[in-house]
Amino acid sequence: MHEEWKTLFDPSSPKQVPLVRKFFDGWKVTIGLIVFLGISILPFLFDLGKAAPPPPEPKIDTPEIQKMVEKKCIEPKSFMKTEHMVMLDDWRDWYVREGRSIYTATDGKQYNISLSNTCMKCHSNKKKFCDECHNYAAVTPYCWDCHIEPKEEG
């Protein structure tokens, strides 16, 4: 009278009812995996087949620097490399808000607080000096929102 019945509740053979092992919702899962994989390797795809771009080499070969006997900035290079943005920010605040116009460097020398006339006097090559690294690291300083960008050839 009964058809062949099965049960999951016979502990002597708990797997009497066969399991079904295959991929379910195949295409949905596939799409999901493709999207996941795509996002994971996206950065790799961008750079596929390209050699690593050469790192920037900021130039200090401006005429003004060439003229210097001892080629050094107002503070040590390592300090300038990491802290120049902080210094420029301080300079702006001191000059604009406090009216100070003289900066005394750690070695005691004094400089005018001026982006255009102190910094850019030597580093007149904005494209080769500033932009090279800023572009590489995707940093967009807002110096030139107010200051007039120096004109350069090429």
Binding site: M1, H2, E3, E4, W5, K6, T7, V17, P18, L19, V20, R21, K22, F23, F24, D25, G26, V29, G32, L33, F36, L37, S40, I41, P43, F44, F46, D47, K50, A51, A52, P53, P55, P56, K81, T82, E83, M85, V86, L88, D89, C133, N135, Y136, A137, A138, V139, T140, Y142
Partner: protein, 335 residues
């Protein structure tokens, strides 16, 4: 596990990871191991592990259609169905998933149940968990996307744009990213509620604290690198571009903070597929959310449906024939 043990074990684990990277780079000079090999291995574990876990889930059938219905069902044409909260089509279910994944719809329902004297139960709004979760996940996403600036040259304009928006307030130098603050703030909140809400403290495991500490560590080292102990970004990009081009090289003078940061990130990626963080993929497969409630209109198939022992009408009538006959109930067989 007691609270103390869970908390400290996780914190110490993350501190140990930091120490390992520190000693490895500063002491043993294993820059190549920490700067190239470990990141590669971590990414491989992450991608392969994720796919493995997802395929494992996908290989298990969904025997029954069990959506949690949180809105009016589709019934009579003049009764307005809630097509998202109680979808009757795959499209509706997909939209429901979009709300769930992008806006954390279910968590938004959260409320606090309070028992007041009377006795009176009251329900108060409790959206902080939702807000913190949303802030945490989205800032994490934006931070990840922002990091693409280290992996693509030239940097695509959408990445630059996102960065501009993220530093919109132009405070501090270098400009503070809003998402950095949000991430640290949200993770701290998520951590503190585990520590200070008694029930949360009672249920939390080391595997709850560990990812929080790990992500907090990643956020803090990242922040330190950017805002306080500035590292050599150009050098870092040389390293990352080398990684992405499969020609890894380790520039000099990057700073140990970066290696610690990278090691914690690598740990997070490698840990991901083995942890509760798999909820990222799992939410898409959740059978109470991702399918339509249309069982009565469209039969759902259970691939392992099997014949069971039943008590047939014939057996029933055999059992009670005399009673049924006396009561005047119709019978299949009279004798």
């Amino acid at each position: 596990m007691s609270f103390g043990l869970s908390f400290w074990v996780s914190l110490i684990a993350v501190l140990a990871l930091i120490l390992v990277a520190w000693v490895g780079v500063e002491g043993a000079k294993l820059n190549f191991l920490f700067g190239a090999i470990i990141p590669y291995v971590a990414i491989a574990i992450f991608v392969v592990g994720m796919i493995y876990r997802i395929l494992k889930w996908a290989s298990i059938p969904l025997p029954f259609r069990i959506p949690t219905t949180t809105g009016q069902q589709k019934s009579l044409p003049w009764i307005k169905q809630n097509k998202i909260e109680n979808p009757s089509t795959a499209l509706g279910a997909a939209i429901r998933m979009v709300f769930e994944v992008l806006l954390f719809r279910s968590l938004f329902r959260n409320m606090r149940t309070e028992l007041r004297p009377g006795p009176r139960l009251s329900f108060a709004s409790a959206k902080w968990l939702w807000l913190a979760a949303l802030a945490f996940h989205y800032s994490f996403l934006i931070i990840l996307i922002r990091h693409l600036r280290l992996f693509i040259e030239p940097v695509p304009s959408p990445v630059k744009f996102l960065e501009m928006i993220d530093s919109f307030f132009q405070v501090w130098v270098p400009l503070v990213y809003i998402t950095d603050l949000m991430l640290i703030g949200a993770v701290t909140y998520l951590l503190l509620r585990r520590v200070f809400i008694p029930q949360m403290r009672y249920i939390s495991l080391p595997s709850d604290y560990f990812p929080l500490f790990l992500i907090l560590g990643i956020g803090i080292t990242g922040g330190l690198m950017r805002y306080f102990y500035k590292v050599n970004v150009v050098g870092i990009k040389e390293l990352t571009m080398g990684l992405i081009n499969f020609s890894p090289k380790i520039p000099e003078g990057i700073g140990v903070l970066f290696y610690i940061h990278l090691f914690l990130v690598s740990t997070l990626f490698a840990y991901f597929p083995f942890s509760k963080l798999m909820h990222m993929a799992g939410v898409f497969l959740s059978p109470t959310r991702n399918i339509a409630n249309n069982n009565r209109a469209k039969r759902h198939i259970n691939p392992w449906n099997y014949p069971v022992k039943v008590h047939t009408y014939e057996e029933y009538e055999d059992d009670y024939r005399e009673f049924m006959k006396d009561a005047g109930l119709p019978l299949e067989k009279e004798d």
